[in-house]
Symmetry: C2
Subunit: 243 residues, 2 copies
């Protein structure tokens, strides 16, 4: 296989980067197909046609590969939020704009909040790999890499949350940036937790579908995220005075 | 070691139960000390002084042991919530009682909501084992047991959430039982996710404590849970009219 041969020869920086990208690409494909928990270093190496030891010249551990994928997913997620919220904000008749103050007690807030809830919920529901990776980061990935790699990842994920909070704040200036950060952080944790519940293995999915006592076990990810986002946003202003 | 000898001889039902309890007790101690993710079947077997194969006469897999522990933790959690909310409800001058209608716009609601937020937040923060186990259930435990064991566990966890929702509903009758269930479910998912972030391994804790750029990475579990609970409760009523 030519990929394998290329891996044996690569020496230059751009070749090194090509290899890293090939490894990340293989890990991404396998994780989307089989779930993050089921993908081993051997699986990734086999996918590219190299030996595990060759792979470890590019990444410290299996966990570092997935932590890099998580960082890339956060960056992609921030861009999607930016596009979704900017498009919504600029749309004619946008509920958040000054000349169209929304329809309820708190001018501008409810309509804009609905929109933010929808865009943020979709930003996660559209990204199964990010959702799958989120609970793995604190549980596994950050625990099996060097402090330097953990730090690099953490700066990326914290930066993504800050950027997202800033984007939400632009649409909902009634909330402080800290409140927007609380909202976005809670949504990220919930998206990670709920995605696992919403995507059970086949045997469990079958059980939930056929056993009427287990109906409550099913979670439909997008509507659940959208609903929780709306509740959090609706609660942020009134909870302020109750500190 | 006498425990080991007892394990070799036990035949009667009550002896079988004793053995199961010894296994669960060892798994609990090790998980509290080392974290759920770090406890193997061999560790549990070694702790009791038996061979792994003997242990597998009582439980299907490592995951079934931890799933049983999670079920027991949910039952204990429901009892604690019951005690916490009942005591609060019965206390003289309780903000939720009819003759002391709280202090703000929605009579009785804000003060009672504060109290529920505090009791629910503590019910998780006081239970590190439950918090540690929660993300492991959907991610790992439910995926490596028989459908019968998964079903048994699911009925216990769903029952605990329903019971808890009923208890919250008694203190906050302004919310529907379904809304109380949404609240309790979201809190459980968040408690599981945040506990992992709030309890990093020593190398990461050191990094967070010393690197000013990583200040946002630290999470203080109880106040964060209490605050999110207050936001969710404050948002449930106003979010109703916004679909």
């Amino acid at each position: 296989m030519s990929t394998s041969a290329a891996f044996q020869r690569a020496r230059r920086p751009e070749q090194k980067q090509q290899r890293e990208e090939a490894i990340l690409g293989a890990a991404r494909e396998l994780a989307l197909r089989d779930g993050v928990r089921n993908v081993s270093l051997n699986d990734i190496a086999a996918r590219i046609g190299i030996h595990k030891s060759a792979l470890l010249r590019y990444f410290e551990t299996r966990e570092q590969i997935f932590l890099e994928l998580t960082a890339a997913s956060w960056r992609d997620w921030t861009q999607a939020l930016h596009a979704g919220l900017a498009a919504a904000d600029a749309a004619p008749g946008s509920v958040g704009s000054a000349d169209s103050p929304g329809s309820a007690d708190s001018p501008g807030f409810p309509g804009s909040a609905e929109l933010v809830a929808d865009v943020v919920a979709r930003s996660f529901a559209d990204r199964p790999l990010l959702c799958d990776l989120i609970p793995h980061t604190a549980l596994n990935l950050e625990r099996n890499v060097s402090p330097a790699a953990a730090r690099r990842y953490k700066l990326t994920s914290l930066g993504a949350i800050s950027d997202a909070a800033g984007l939400v704040h632009r649409v909902l200036p009634e909330l402080t940036e800290d409140e927007c950060r609380e909202f976005v952080s809670a949504m990220a944790s919930l998206a990670g937790a709920l995605w696992q519940i919403a995507n059970p293995p086949p045997a469990l999915a079958e059980l939930y579908a056929t056993d009427p006592d287990l109906g409550q076990a099913c979670v439909d990810l997008l509507p659940r995220l959208r609903r929780t986002a709306a509740i959090l946003l609706a609660g942020l202003i009134p909870s302020r005075s109750r500190g």
